[in-house]
């Protein structure tokens, strides 16, 4: 794989749409020294307007539905949406809840699913690599 269209590091924005914190702490764990994806220049940024990748955790509660859509719209193209965790991918243990607008792919288009409850940091890193390839392909089409 060659990096032509995106010759800079991915910046990541994290949205918690009603998650239990399990995935969120694993995302932070993959940034901190043991797994350390910051060495590739990837970092969590403070606003979706600076981000290339949206990391969405949680099954999307009704309260967060509009907010998630808005964050998605604020992220500039080319962008990739990654869902971290089972409950964002399918509903997981919360599938029958009355307060869910999700899973995430019912609210915004999703590119990469990382399953697990919560997924290990290695899985999250692999997901980011997949996301990167996807952004490259988006660039090639244009």
């Amino acid at each position: 794989m060659s990096l032509k269209d995106l010759n800079r590091s991915l910046w990541v924005f994290h949205v918690n749409s009603g998650s239990c914190n399990g995935c969120d702490i694993e995302i932070v764990a993959s940034l901190t020294p043991r797994y350390d994806i910051e060495r590739f220049g990837m970092k969590l940024v403070g606003t979706p307007r600076h981000a290339d990748v949206l990391l969405v955790t949680g099954p999307v509660t009704r309260d967060m539905e509009k907010k998630l859509k808005r964050v998605f719209e604020q992220t500039p193209d080319p962008k990739v949406v990654m869902v971290i965790g089972n409950c964002g991918s399918t509903g997981g243990v919360f599938y029958e809840s009355y307060n869910l607008a999700g899973p995430v792919d019912q609210v915004i288009p999703v590119d990469v699913y990382v399953t697990g409850c919560p997924p290990r940091p290695e899985a999250i890193i692999e997901g980011v690599v997949k996301a990167w390839t996807k952004i490259e392909k988006q660039g090639e089409k244009k």
Binding site: N16, G18, N21, G22, P33, T61, P118
Partner: protein, 432 residues
């Protein structure tokens, strides 16, 4: 002691039928933070009224993480609920599943084997180490010390390794079962646990010198976000937040569960270390760091004292479920989670699923103290003060709690009545 004192100053001075004075709009601004904001790890919305840099009114709105867990629980059997209970919060998952186990065991009169009690204690204390170190990292991040955050998260990985070796999972462990625990600790694993504890004893010195001696951290945290002992009692603060205000409240000491009755656990207050209690952010850091030390001692003691024997009341899950299907009555589980006291209430009516399940997580109690803590502080100190109670929104948001009106939150009659009752009970118990 009059709980009225904790109500907003403006309201206290106002007579009952006097109309609310309109605020001068010229120098008061409202600042809305969240629900998606880099300083907040979880969705919650703060509405602050500020005058210059000073916070004059605090309001917060929950419900963003409401997933209807209690309702889902009434459609599943108790063993399935264990795994749902773990997903109330990914950080304190052992305490929720254990608390549910204790409540169901109370109803069914299930006797838990002695070894299982010790295993539960070990898992709970490992989780406390993990949670407190994680919090120290978040606190450092809120203060702007990212290198300290990375250091704390690095040493935190060790306890995750231990938990993974003992349970098979890093975060949600799936180790608790009604009537015991699912996996034993074998002889080969004991040296690894001991090695990790030694690692933390060494690492603790560095954490201590960073957090307790660094002049910058000191100047940011000493005297910031003060919660007085009086306010802490009146607003029912729990866990390290209450203990940092000098309230000696700890379920492990007051009403021992699992193996804590065999162990000598004392509630830690900053008085033990600093000689005085201020109730500020610094005191909360001190209490949490001392509790990491305490947890290490508890685990060592458990490994020494642990008796041999069974670890489960009933190994066959279908048989256990058949037993639970016939029970009737209600039970309460109480335990000390890393953030404070957790209560689970379960009512069974002779059916497969419980008739009712209610969870009260510690953050629910520790939300109201935000009022007195944030009042009059600078906007820049809001993140560290809010983080100093170690809030966990996913624990709290099972039921819609607040209605977005600060006056109602702070002036809620029912809440106040409960506070008065609890204050009086505590006063009686403390002999004051």
């Amino acid at each position: 002691m009059n709980p009225d004192k904790v109500i907003e100053k403006k309201d206290r001075e106002r007579k009952p039928d006097e109309p609310v004075k309109k605020k001068r709009k010229s120098n008061s601004y409202s600042l809305s933070i969240g629900p998606i904001h880099p300083a907040l790890k979880e969705p919650i919305r703060f509405d602050l009224q500020i005058e210059g840099e000073k916070v004059v009114k605090v309001d917060f709105e929950l419900s963003q993480v409401h997933r209807g867990i209690e309702w889902i629980g009434t459609r599943r059997n108790p063993v399935q609920i264990l795994y749902l209970a773990e997903r109330i919060c990914g950080i304190c998952n052992i305490c929720h599943s254990t608390c549910f186990c204790i409540a169901v065991e109370n109803i069914a009169n299930i006797e838990v084997p002695a070894r299982a009690h010790y295993l539960r204690t070990i898992h709970a204390e490992l989780e406390r180490i993990h949670s407190h170190i994680l919090w120290a990292g978040v606190a450092a991040h809120e203060l702007g010390f990212d290198s300290v955050m990375h250091y704390t998260w690095k040493i935190r990985e060790k306890v995750l390794d231990v938990m993974e070796a003992l349970t098979g999972n890093r975060i949600t462990k799936g180790i608790m079962m009604i009537g015991g625990v699912r996996r034993d600790i074998n002889e080969k694993q004991v040296p690894m646990v001991k090695e990790a504890l030694e690692y933390y004893k060494k690492g603790f010195g560095k954490l201590e010198s960073i957090f307790l001696k660094d002049p910058v951290i000191k100047s940011r945290t000493v005297g910031t976000g003060i919660l007085s002992r009086h306010d802490g009692l009146a607003l029912c603060a729990v866990g390290p937040t209450a203990r940092a205000s000098g309230i000696k409240k700890d379920v492990r000491q007051d009403e021992p569960y699992a193996a804590y009755s065999d162990l000598d656990v004392k509630a830690i207050t900053p008085k033990d270390f600093l000689g005085e209690v201020k109730g500020d952010v610094f005191d909360r850091i001190v209490v949490r760091l001392l509790e990491v030390k305490q947890s290490i001692e508890i685990i060592e003691e458990c490994l020494k004292q642990m008796p041999k024997g069974k670890i489960l009341h009933e190994e066959k899950i279908p048989k256990l479920l058949a037993e639970l299907r016939n029970i009737e009555g209600d039970g309460i589980g109480r335990l000390e989670a890393p953030r404070g006291e957790v209560i689970h209430y379960v009512k069974m009516v002779g059916k497969e699923a419980p008739y009712s399940w209610k969870v009260r997580a510690p953050t629910y109690n520790n939300l109201l103290p935000w009022g007195p803590m944030l009042m009059g502080e600078q906007v820049a100190d809001v993140p560290i003060i809010a983080a100093s109670t170690d809030p966990c929104m996913s624990c709290t948001n099972r039921a819609v709690v607040a209605d977005g009106n600060s006056e109602k939150i702070l002036d809620n009659e029912a809440m106040r009545r409960l506070s008065v009752e609890k204050t009086n009970a505590l006063k009686r118990r403390l002999g004051r």
